[in-house]
């Protein structure tokens, strides 16, 4: 007979406030096969865990149900505790009476009844649990970092410095990301490229880092410690091993008028180009769409002029497959585009005239306009006529914090970079006037508020609390109509230039990658961390970690910190010889398996194989399915597709699930 122990946790007040825990414990004791039942303030504390251990030893329990928080939170804790008392960890189950009960209900009676129901369901399950052994799997000690911005570079360098191999994949022709586009960085105003380029160079030259630029992750299979990743190396039409990066091809290419991505469309580039002078690797790439050779077969100037003969017009995409142990996703962000020309979800700001008036620019475009490596070589000239703007208006929260017209979240970095922009502007145009329309100033961070105060007090930026309703053009000026809610006045500013602090958005092509990786994402396509507070760099897919703005808007220090955190998680993972995995795998009953092979077709991991059953004379009497435990991930799709009920999923067997259902409504 089963002897089940039930342990009801109050979680301080968290459960006890809405669930009558002593009552639940008393009633749980009356359930069939429940031998011992007790409630305690904090079950996860040492004394709480000791209560469980003592009860197992004293009463010879055959199963344990802990009614507490979500199993995703403390299942491991309690399973470890029962193991210490000599019980198999898989004989311990959690009834989730906090996240699924006390926190979501207000009626004390209903919550108490529900808590008891949840316990009864778990008691019935645990009665049918069997002792299982964890599966041990080896770890490939090589990491993949996706994205070569500051977060990806930092994570790759940290892992490489820890002595482990890293593959760094970047989709654009150079690493560096958005940080390479910035002019100066807050709150110190040090030049972005000066602090970034040494890191880019180290990432390229580090003996443990293999860099794949202009490459994308094509396919991911496997699981923690044992991923197989296929990388598509897009055709550069250049033999990188031969190219010296002399730049003559770029100089002589006759196709000139292509808007430069690096300069946010404000400058032009050639059809064969290095995105920016400090690019790593400093090897050009041919833009197939604009190259005359690809369009009509003529030209070929670069090929003729290239000294080392590195041009390869016949190059095709190549594929590289790597065995990987852990993955860091550092794909970064994109700016919400707000012009009407692009097909984007953010439509609400047509009245700001972005895309219509050339002097209405985004924050990132302004960075390029004041950057020494930008299209104007650091001289601030407005895009329409090259005049130095004498009055400039910055508008914050364009798209952010307004679910009706954009996104509901705060983009976090705009308050700070707008303050920085006003300072950069005043340092370049001493007599200029800078106005900022803001909703709130959010300057939390070390030396951040001081930085904003400096912009206002020392550099004389005028901050107006209010929104802008409309921007129109009049006599070569932009008329900005807005409100100053602190003085209650309507404001009209005739400006030479307007800078919009547009919302930070997720990468537009992140969803297919997230789906390849099996990583969750929210409604705005930011990738989901495993726990918002306690596991901010892990994802729900074991072995895959997050770094930087792909998870949420972040500034540089935060992105770097998270990258280092992800790297330390990877190094921690790599420091173990082998991993333990939950033994939730499918098992075939060979006696009843009819060999229909439906499960072979259903299995997403090709974990099911055919096995021949032979008699003593060695003749095959039938073919059955056989589950390769190393490959099986335990989804259970084969179980529900099996016609003869011959496959079962350990940990979620039919017996367990049916008895749970039987106990659901009594």
């Amino acid at each position: 007979m089963a002897r089940i122990g039930v342990f009801v946790c109050h979680c301080g007040e968290n459960i006890g406030r809405t669930v009558d825990c002593p009552e639940v414990s008393r009633r749980a004791a009356l359930l069939r096969d429940v031998f011992y039942s007790v409630d305690y303030k904090y079950m996860c504390s040492d004394p709480g865990q000791n209560m469980i251990k003592d009860a197992i030893r004293e009463h010879g329990l055959t199963g344990v149900v802990v009614a507490s928080c979500s199993p995703l939170m403390h299942e491991k804790t309690f399973r470890r505790a029962v193991t210490e008392a000599g019980m198999n960890p898989f004989l311990c189950e959690i009834a989730n009476i906090r996240e699924h009960c006390s926190w979501v209900h207000e009626d004390r009676k209903a919550a108490t009844d529900k808590a008891l129901d949840l316990i009864r369901i778990m008691v019935e399950k645990v009665k049918h649990n069997v002792a299982l052994e964890s599966i041990r799997i080896p770890v490939t000690k090589k990491a993949l970092v996706i994205g070569g911005g500051i977060a990806g570079i930092q994570a790759a360098l940290d892992i490489a410095d820890g002595g482990k191999e890293v593959i760094l994949v970047e989709k654009s022709p150079s690493i560096g990301g958005h940080m390479a586009q910035l002019s100066e960085t807050f709150p110190t105003l040090d030049c972005s490229q000066c602090i970034l380029t040494p890191k880019m160079v180290s990432a390229n030259t580090h003996k443990n880092i293999k860099l794949y630029t202009y490459s994308e992750v094509e396919k991911v299979s496997g699981y923690i410690g044992n991923f197989q990743v296929t990388i598509r190396k897009k055709a550069r039409y250049i033999d990188e091993s031969v190219c010296t990066g002399c730049g003559i091809c770029q100089e002589k290419c006759p196709v000139k008028k292509i808007p430069s991505e690096f300069n946010e469309g404000l400058g032009m580039r050639k059809a064969i180009y290095v995105p920016f002078p400090q690019a790593v690797p400093n090897k050009p790439v041919i833009d197939r769409e604009h190259c005359t050779k690809f369009i009509n077969g003529k030209c070929g100037a670069c090929e003729k002029l290239c000294g080392p003969k590195a041009i390869r017009f016949d190059q095709t995409d190549s594929f590289i497959t790597e065995d990987i142990g852990a993955i860091v996703v550092a794909t970064g962000y994109d700016l919400y585009t707000i012009d009407k020309k692009t097909d984007n979800t953010l439509k609400g700001y047509g009245e700001y005239g972005y895309g219509k008036y050339p002097d209405v620019v985004s924050g990132l475009q302004f960075e390029r306009l004041v950057s020494a490596s930008g299209p104007t070589y650091g001289e601030l000239k407005r895009p329409s006529d090259g005049k130095t703007p004498e009055t400039i208006v910055f508008i914050q929260c364009v798209g952010s914090r307004d679910a009706a017209k954009g996104v509901s979240y705060c983009s976090k970095i705009c308050c700070m970079y707008t303050a920085k922009h006003t300072m950069l502007y005043k340092h370049k145009v001493h007599n200029g006037k800078a106005f900022v329309f803001y909703m709130d100033i959010r300057a939390g961070g070390k030396n951040y508020d001081e930085f904003v105060r400096r912009a206002i007090e020392e550099d004389g930026a005028v901050y107006l609390r209010g929104r802008v309703s409309k921007i129109s053009q009049e006599d070569g000026k932009l008329v900005v109509m807005g409100a100053d809610t602190l003085s209650g006045a309507q404001v009209e500013i005739k400006a030479d230039m307007v800078v919009l602090a547009t919302a930070i958005a997720a990468q537009p092509d992140i969803v297919p990658l997230a789906q390849k990786l099996g990583v969750g994402y929210d409604q705005y396509h930011f990738l989901s961390e495993a726990h918002p507070k306690l596991r901010p760099v892990e994802t729900n897919s074991a072995g895959i970690f997050l770094a930087g703005a792909c998870q949420a808007p972040k500034d540089i220090p935060e992105a770097v910190a998270q990258a280092s955190a992800a790297a330390s998680k990877v190094l921690g993972l790599f420091s173990s010889l082998e991993l333990e995995r939950e033994p939730y795998v499918a098992k075939v009953n060979e006696n009843t398996c009819s060999g229909c092979e439906f499960c072979l077709m259903a299995c997403p991991y090709n974990a099911i194989e055919r096995r021949e059953i032979k008699n003593r004379r060695g003749e095959v009497i039938k073919t059955v399915s056989y589950v390769n435990e190393g490959k099986c991930q335990g989804c259970g799709t084969c179980v529900s597709i099996c016609r003869s009920k011959s496959i079962d999923l350990m940990g979620f067997t039919d017996e367990q699930v049916y008895s749970q259902i039987n106990a659901m409504f009594v």
Binding site: S25, L30, L31, P604
Partner: protein, 166 residues
């Protein structure tokens, strides 16, 4: 219809998306109806629809199935299997005269705590409107009068309890 009728609803959810999403609803302290009993499975692909029948057999008035959004399945395609099976299962329900609205299907991701609240409330309302599912239970009773002997889960009397600490 009985005004005070509180429906009993069984929910079969996957652990990666909906269970985690329901956890998020809890962590965010969102409030919803207490009628749903959640059963955690690794994936919606594990949901054999005889589980749904079993839930009705045991007195459920409605069933909710929820997993990851299409293409987001942790196991690549389990939710597609569930969706296909559900499409056929609905036809079967219609054929047998059971209101297909008693079985609801939804996608709730791990980041959609608020959606889980809305789904639970909507399903509870829907089933409350449909009323108790007596027809099915009567049918079961008529067909298998011996069934209710021992489901093994009912509370036993205090005397029977050998050692009942606290």
């Amino acid at each position: 219809m009985n005004e005070n009728f509180e429906p009993k609803i069984a929910a079969f959810v996957c652990t990666w998306c909906t269970y985690t999403g329901a956890d998020l609803a809890g962590t965010s302290r969102l409030k919803y109806e207490p009628n749903v009993r959640v059963l955690r499975l690794p994936c919606t692909g594990r949901i054999d629809f005889s589980l749904v029948i079993k839930a009705f057999e045991n007195g459920a008035d409605g069933v909710l199935i929820s997993g990851c959004h299409p293409n987001d399945c942790h196991y690549n395609a389990g939710n597609f299997h569930a969706r296909r099976r559900f499409a056929i299962f609905r036809k079967l329900l219609e054929f047998t005269g059971i209101d297909p609205n008693r079985v609801q299907f939804s996608w709730v991701s791990a980041a959609e705590g608020a959606k889980w609240r809305d789904v639970v409330n909507a399903v509870t309302d829907e089933i409350r409107k449909l009323g108790p599912f007596n027809e099915y239970q009567k049918l079961i009773h008529d067909s298998f009068p011996f069934r209710h002997e021992d489901s093994g889960a009912e509370e036993i009397s205090e005397k029977e309890q050998v050692e009942n600490v606290k």
